[in-house]
Symmetry: C2
Subunit: 150 residues, 2 copies
């Protein structure tokens, strides 16, 4: 049986042509963080570094994915939508891209699960970042997602 992360990768690559064009891979999910990767070459811009659209797409998919995988952990069947996001572009990316998403500080999945049980919908704020090899972040995103029970 495929793992939840392998199943999610199949869904994303099967249903989203732009995810295929980005050649992304869901690399790891440890119950809290989801890591997505993509090679630089298909995601390059006119300056030879990573295209801003690829960076924000990858972070948005990582944020959406961490909510989807947590819902799987919780045994809940929901649609998940992004509502808004704030992105900061801090430094160019000259290598393959990695995006890491996790629940934002100050929020808990327990509150999320409780809201979902009580109201059939719940919001989660997710923090995403694209780290550089030397430790600092190339870009960061804070995004809100809503999950609605099917």
């Amino acid at each position: 049986m495929p793992t939840p992360i392998a199943e999610l990768q199949s869904l994303i690559l099967g249903e989203i042509p732009m995810a295929r064009a980005m050649d992304l891979t869901l690399r790891e999910y440890d119950g809290a963080q989801l890591t997505i990767a993509a090679p630089l070459v298909p995601n390059i811009n006119d300056k030879g570094c990573a295209f801003g659209g690829s960076l924000v797409s990858l972070m948005t998919l990582a944020g959406w994915g961490v909510v989807v995988l947590k819902l799987k952990d919780l045994g809940r069947d929901c649609d998940v939508y992004v509502q808004d996001s704030t992105v900061r572009y801090l430094a160019p990316v000259w290598s393959d891209i990695v995006a890491i998403a996790q629940l934002a500080e100050g929020e808990t999945w327990d509150d999320f699960a409780q809201s979902l049980a009580q109201r059939g919908r719940a919001r989660a704020t997710v923090s995403c970042r694209v780290p550089l090899d030397e430790g600092r972040d190339a870009c960061t995103m804070q995004a809100r997602f809503v999950a609605i029970a099917r």
Copy 2:
């Protein structure tokens, strides 16, 4: 001789593989607004509507493009970078995508040109939106760009 908008489209499609994958077209630039379009099919998601990553990529490229074209009008040779953006996703897009970018309210290109002349760099805040056929917006973006003289 190619028009500035045709030249910019050639640059974007020639140098950014993801722009080719999105199949985008620079449709119109009237000195204030830049309109970019992309068909739905290559930009679809698992729900059958437009992928959020495509929407934000298209809005970011429209914002970047309007600054690049204004610099061309001003006869200035600059690199243009996105610094940050805030995106709101308001409604799904079930048709081909159109993104329109223009300078944000309260800013003027005169101030931008003056800052560039005095300091060799200038910031512009750009408003982008993806309108729906019925008049309201599917998503909006406010983004800051910096232009640095080469």
